[in-house]
């Protein structure tokens, strides 16, 4: 090759890499920083980290202090949930299963409660033995399933033409949205017993679920209201002209459409709820983060914060991602083409 051409080519390369703009300089700088960080992290992973804190406590992370010989029960529940997620993302061709997916999802709650609490032939387990991922999932699923219908109801009440219904529901929604979640959970754990008649007691786990439901339903109501407002008025007019009554309009026109529009927001609520169950670790339930805290308090594993936190973060991250994937699939399926 001609030396002049080589020179020209080198100049061209340099121009692309560096002299073109500040942008490329920034790229080089960022790449070198990332490489240095990656090298350091790998170094730590291979030489300095000790993962025995995770591997020796893996069943504690998953099931808490659930009785050893009964651990197959939460295991079955979690597996069934995961397989249901899998079926939702990659649906098989069977039509009956596709149609009954929603029923299957709702059915996981009684199944979970039966498997966890026992009774009907299974050995009963006290709720104070629940813990770890099982408890986190129980809190998330129960509260979101209870909060959804309440949220829908509140959204309709807020849109209602009846003055008092409208006012009451908007006071409820606005005040719930103004209060931090931890205060509501605190209310659930410490104040609900004060409001109950003498001798009546609610289990701690159910008090937590109740508090989460109160909180999340207000947020869901606002999301659904957004969906309701996005439905064009012509839909209601045409339903009226078809002779549908009020109930039928709500049931067949408004709820399905507003749910579909609000689905992305609802997904965010569900993911937020899943993450927020970690707050219960401050208020005395040993869910996933709570287990992590109690393991770190064990003198045997003292100071291994990074390993435990990275492990917990990856579990939370993984489950949030699964939830987002399921929601994305739902969105795609519900889309009108």
């Amino acid at each position: 090759m001609h030396p002049k051409k080589i020179k020209k080519n080198i100049q061209k390369l340099l121009k692309i890499l560096f002299l073109n703009s500040l942008n490329n300089l920034l790229t080089i700088l960022l790449i070198s920083i990332i490489c240095a960080l990656l090298f350091k992290t790998f170094n730590w992973f291979i030489f300095n980290s000790e993962w025995s804190v995770i591997s020796s406590n893996i069943s504690l992370f998953a099931f808490g202090t659930f009785p050893e010989e009964q651990r197959w029960r939460p295991f079955i529940w979690i597996t069934s949930l995961l397989s249901l997620c899998f079926l939702s993302i990659i649906p098989p061709k069977w039509k009956w299963l596709r149609k009954n997916l929603l029923i299957a999802w709702i059915g996981t709650i009684p199944l979970g409660i039966f498997l966890l609490y026992g009774g009907f032939g299974l050995q009963t387990v006290m709720s104070r033995n629940f813990g770890g991922l099982t408890l986190t999932i129980l809190l998330t699923i129960c509260s979101s399933v209870f909060a959804l219908p309440i949220g829908i109801g509140l959204a309709f009440c807020r849109q209602s033409s009846l003055f008092i219904v409208k006012k009451l529901s908007s006071i409820y929604i606005d005040s719930m949205r103004a209060v931090p979640l931890i205060a509501v959970l605190f209310f659930g754990q410490l104040l609900i017993p004060l409001f109950l008649p003498l001798g009546m007691e609610i289990d701690r786990v159910w008090r937590a679920i109740f508090a989460f439901t109160l909180f999340v339903s207000a947020y869901i109501a606002e999301d659904i209201r957004g969906g309701l407002q996005a439905i064009p008025n012509t839909q209601i007019e045409s339903a009226n002209s078809l002779g549908l009554n009020q109930f039928q309009i709500i049931r067949f026109i408004l709820i399905p459409q507003s749910l579909r529009i609000a689905l992305p927001a609802l997904t965010n609520q569900a993911i937020g709820l899943f993450q927020n169950t970690s707050l219960m670790s401050i208020l005395g339930l040993v869910e996933l983060l709570g287990i992590g805290r109690s393991i770190l308090a064990n003198p045997k594993f003292i100071g291994q914060y990074i390993e435990v936190y990275i492990w917990l973060a990856s579990v939370y991250w993984l489950i949030c991602t699964i939830m987002a994937l399921v929601a994305k699939y739902l969105e795609k399926r519900l889309k009108i083409t």
């Binding site: 942008n23 920034l26 790229t27 960022l30 790449i31 990332i34 033409s161 009846l162 003055f163 008092i164 219904v165 009451l168 005040s175 103004a178 209060v179 931090p180 979640l181 931890i182 205060a183 605190f186 209310f187 410490l190 104040l191 017993p193 004060l194 409001f195 109950l196 008649p197 003498l198 993911i271 993450q275 927020n276 970690s278 707050l279 670790s281 401050i282 983060l289 805290r293 770190l296 914060y305 990074i306 936190y309 917990l312 973060a313 939370y316 991250w317 949030c320 991602t321």
Partner: protein, 299 residues
């Protein structure tokens, strides 16, 4: 006929609401009498007899509970406004790098957003506190006397922050910035592409065009989302209790543990947050008005 139906329906709702409420209040009164606590606020003036590591105004354990609550409120405000400022700056950087042309920056910022948004804030706060600060060596970063970072906290130019405070600020700012970044990205995307093309064709530089042309048009879409994130930030600041920072919630919790006045403290907490929310909403509304005044109307 229909109108009457509505009124009767509302009456039924009011009656059932009152009866449920009355039932609960009745239970509450019975329980309060049984536990010998009653309901009053006179305990607020008694000496608190607990120490606070962090106080903006002079405070000693012999001061009253009310004073301790005020100190807690100031601590909360301090955290909220500093992290509000920091998270906005960080969020703008993330939002811009997410919409910008640089591929590496794009990848980094989307990675940052997925990591931060998919893990619980509480876990992040604990990470920043136990790993980020308590895990540091005694002289991690030392720059004469002007700038120091170690397991005692951050110190620069004579200002010193405790490790709890610093961890809380960093954790809240990092968490909120990921959400703010998405809000800002949404705002910038909402500006039609023609605007970009037209300022480029006029020979305006990229950065100048972004500041003068794109951002002013994106702001109306950004402000409501930003307000929401600020309100969330204020609510999330109550997680300070997990790392031992004495904010308003933590002090309420301590008082409840000492005196058992759960109901009264809860009411105080609710009112504090009502005031805080009003404060932030009004602040954002003023900003919104200022922006709207300066807005140049297109079409």
């Amino acid at each position: 006929m229909k109108r009457n139906k509505g009124i009767i329906f509302q009456l039924i709702i009011i009656l059932s609401f009152i009866s449920i409420f009355g039932f609960l209040i009745n239970n509450l009164i019975i329980n309060l009498i049984r536990t010998d606590l009653g309901f009053n606020f006179s305990w607020l003036l008694k000496p608190s007899s607990f120490a606070l590591a962090e106080h903006a105004l002079p405070y000693s354990p012999s001061d009253s509970y009310a004073w301790a609550l005020l100190i807690g409120w100031l601590n909360s405000l301090k955290v909220i406004f500093i992290s509000l400022f920091l998270s906005t700056i960080l969020g703008i950087m993330i939002g811009l790098s997410r919409t910008g042309k640089n591929t590496i920056l794009n990848i980094i910022s989307s990675f940052y957003i997925t990591i931060i948004r998919q893990t619980p804030l509480l876990l992040q706060l604990m990470f920043w506190y136990f790993v980020g600060f308590l895990g540091l060596k005694n002289n991690f970063l030392y720059f004469s006397n002007l700038f120091k970072i170690n397991n005692q906290g951050i110190e620069f130019f004579g200002l010193s922050f405790t490790s709890e405070f610093s961890a809380l600020i960093i954790g809240l700012s990092v968490f909120t910035s990921a959400f703010i970044g998405e809000v800002i990205r949404g705002g910038i995307i909402s500006v039609p592409k023609g605007q970009w093309e037209s300022f480029r064709s006029l020979g305006i530089s990229e950065s100048n065009g972004l500041i003068r042309v794109i951002i002013p048009q994106a702001l109306p879409a950004i402000i409501p989302g930003l307000t929401n994130q600020f309100l969330n930030l204020a609510k999330n600041s109550t997680l300070a209790i997990a790392i031992g920072y004495s904010d308003i919630y933590a002090i309420n919790d301590t008082i409840i543990n000492q005196t058992g006045r759960a109901i009264e403290c809860f009411i105080i907490l609710l009112f504090t947050f009502l005031i805080l929310n009003l404060l932030i909403t009004n602040l954002m509304e003023t900003i919104n008005k200022l922006i709207n005044k300066k807005k140049i109307y297109i079409n």
